[in-house]
Symmetry: C2
């Protein structure tokens, strides 16, 4: 059901020197599915991260932020349970998992970074996760990225992994990443879970600014349903086993590669959006600021009426105008707004373009991918957001999620 | 499909002296349905109104605001076409309708207040509407409130009309109102269309503050899908044919009655929400301000994940916590939040209440009406919002709306 999204080819996912991955079937929620992932980092790696700003952020998010200050040696991820809305008990349970993995890997519990995703407000089944750790640890290897992507899926229908190489002055560096997410997607700082690693050597300060900028240009530009998760996290790892990125040119090339991988992962999340049948690019141009363009783009991308019209391939495009009018731009002059669907000029100066014919828009909307372009004609800024439609299957998936 | 909502009994709708209503089948969009309403006011009536703040507000909204300054003598309402997103041509068409009705009623075009509701961005079929006016004018009578409620329905499945009497010092006054709306409902100043009339004599200034306060306590507290319409309007008419409301006590009694009628109409809109199977009251208590309580209540009421869980009667209540965490209250302490479903204490201090059992919440959610109550425990303010669930039928209705 995903829109133009195939499972990645494992042979195209470059291993990252200094990172090993291992998975297990721990039966966290359901038996016989990969649901625990362990990532081990060799000493000397630097890590930077951005996390959800949801005030109900999960227990593992609280711990992860704290532990990241101690130099990360391992990550542990479980699906099937978010360990969110679980109060102090949730923190203790997350710490128990860290302790168990630390014992197996001979590091400190404070060097283990925990992540959870799944149902909110249920107690984390620590015993089952801990019982699954030995299998995950004995599975650790550098070539396991696809298996790792599979192990973090929840309502995802396709595993999400992207890899590329980037030429730095000291040689080629590798950037490989995985992500999960299909619903509760309107990342604020990052998406549900994304892990991107490079073997380049990058200072922690540089890595920190890189992770923020990459998030702002990828995960922070997509939305499925406007709901920001309690467990969002986007992690960038630089193992330092490959060439150094310290010159301005190298850092910029690496950031471009990291952003590209992150954006492909973010697009994959939208393409695999719950019930999605369309992948829609919403571009707002000629606004006064990027912020106001983003506001308008999100107003379009979040409107249930616009999203059901996308689903129906129904050029009921007045709904897009209504969404623009609702975006909260108090002094917007509706009489200046133009609207395009791919190359079709639908609205000019706030009214229907006299030469516009509905079959033109219908032909665009029937396609699985198209672009909505709104011109505010009041400035020079622009912004792009990627989203999907709202279908029967979104309701079915979310009405049945726990059964 | 509406939730606990029956068509009103015409014999319970009190006529309002000084108001006559007439309807016609003009074939605006489809044949053989009431789609044009004319309301005639006797001289001396005062009128106050609140309108949508959507920047793409419709042509009739622009004209209505202007014409209301001239002393309203008649209203004309059409369904089937919103005359929004239609630019200058839309204004001319709305004015043509006003002119035609003014000629028939022997008043000025500037004394006719136009309203339209229906599809956005299509040219208003002025000829068909004007051709229908004579039938509507010859149908004018005081007892036509139910027929009027029927004539303004679009995706509504039940006509919405409410009436009551209120004791003033000079005798009983009547308050009768009608409304329409089922989708694109998240009123900002008012709902899609609401008309409430009283025979009481009220000064224009008093009526103006009354309409705002009544809107804030009724139409401005409901949401179906978070989309604010381009055509929202809420009109309050005082014909002055009955007892005067000039003392503080009388004004307060009248405002209470107007607010009560408006709230019943607003609730009817939610009960008839597109695809609705549940009527849910969202109450947020012990916040620092009413504004922050409303923000949290709307975050819950707008979350597609929460609304699909309502539809499924699935006590996946962590989704409510996630919505609270997303409400944009930067300094909210999640560890203080309590959550109740009717009388069931689900969450205490940010975590699952140890004595909570899921079947308790399931029993509440199976009911067609229940209350979600979130306690922020950081102040003394509160707010209430009424909403419905998100079902398969919402998608079906909005994917098929124009076919």
């Amino acid at each position: 059901m995903a829109v133009n999204l195939s499972p990645p080819d494992a042979t195209h996912l470059h291993p990252v020197a200094g990172v090993e991955l291992g998975v297990a079937m721990a039966g966290v929620k359901k038996p016989n599915r990969k649901d625990v992932l362990v990532m081990r980092l060799e000493p000397g790696a630097t890590v930077a991260a951005v996390f959800t700003r949801n005030r109900f952020c999960a227990a593992p998010v609280v711990l992860a932020k704290k532990h990241l200050a101690n130099g990360a040696r391992a990550f542990v991820v479980n699906t099937g349970n978010a360990n969110a809305g679980t109060g102090k008990d949730g923190l203790n349970r997350a710490l128990d998992v860290c302790r168990a993995l630390a014992a197996a890997l001979e590091c400190k519990a404070e060097q283990v970074i925990p992540f959870s995703t799944g149902v909110i407000m249920e107690p984390l089944p620590v015993d089952r996760i801990v019982a699954g750790l030995p299998a995950a640890v004995s599975d650790l290897k550098a070539g396991n990225w696809l298996s790792a992507a599979e192990s973090i899926m929840t309502t995802d229908t396709v595993p999400k992994a992207v890899s590329r190489k980037v030429r730095l002055s000291g040689g080629d560096a590798v950037v490989t990443g995985i992500a999960k997410g299909a619903g509760m997607i309107r990342p604020d700082m990052a998406t549900m879970l994304g892990f991107v690693a490079t073997d380049a050597k990058v200072s922690r300060d540089k890595l920190r600014s890189m992770v923020r900028r990459a998030a702002d240009r990828s995960f922070n530009c997509v939305t499925v349903d406007g709901d920001t998760s309690t467990n969002d996290a986007f992690i960038l790892i630089a193992t330092g086993k490959g060439p150094a990125a310290s010159t301005k040119k190298d850092l910029s090339a690496l950031e471009e590669a990291v952003t590209g991988v992150s954006r492909s992962l973010a697009h994959a999340i939208v393409r695999d959006g719950e019930g999605a049948t369309k992948f829609v690019t919403v571009r707002v141009e000629r606004g006064r600021s990027e912020a106001e363009c983003r506001k308008v783009a999100y107003a379009i991308a979040h409107s249930p009426l616009v999203k059901t019209a996308f689903f129906a391939s129904d050029p009921n495009l007045g709904r897009i105008l209504a969404a623009i009018g609702n975006a909260g731009i108090g002094d917007l002059d509706a009489g200046k707004v133009d609207l395009f669907l791919d190359g079709v000029a639908v609205v000019k100066a706030g009214g229907r373009n006299p030469s516009y014919l509905e079959p033109q828009a219908f032909a665009v909307m029937k396609k699985p991918e198209f672009t909505v372009r709104a011109m505010l004609n009041r400035g020079r800024a622009s912004a792009t957001v990627w989203t999907c439609d709202l279908s029967f299957d979104y309701v079915r998936i979310n009405a049945e999620y726990r059964t």
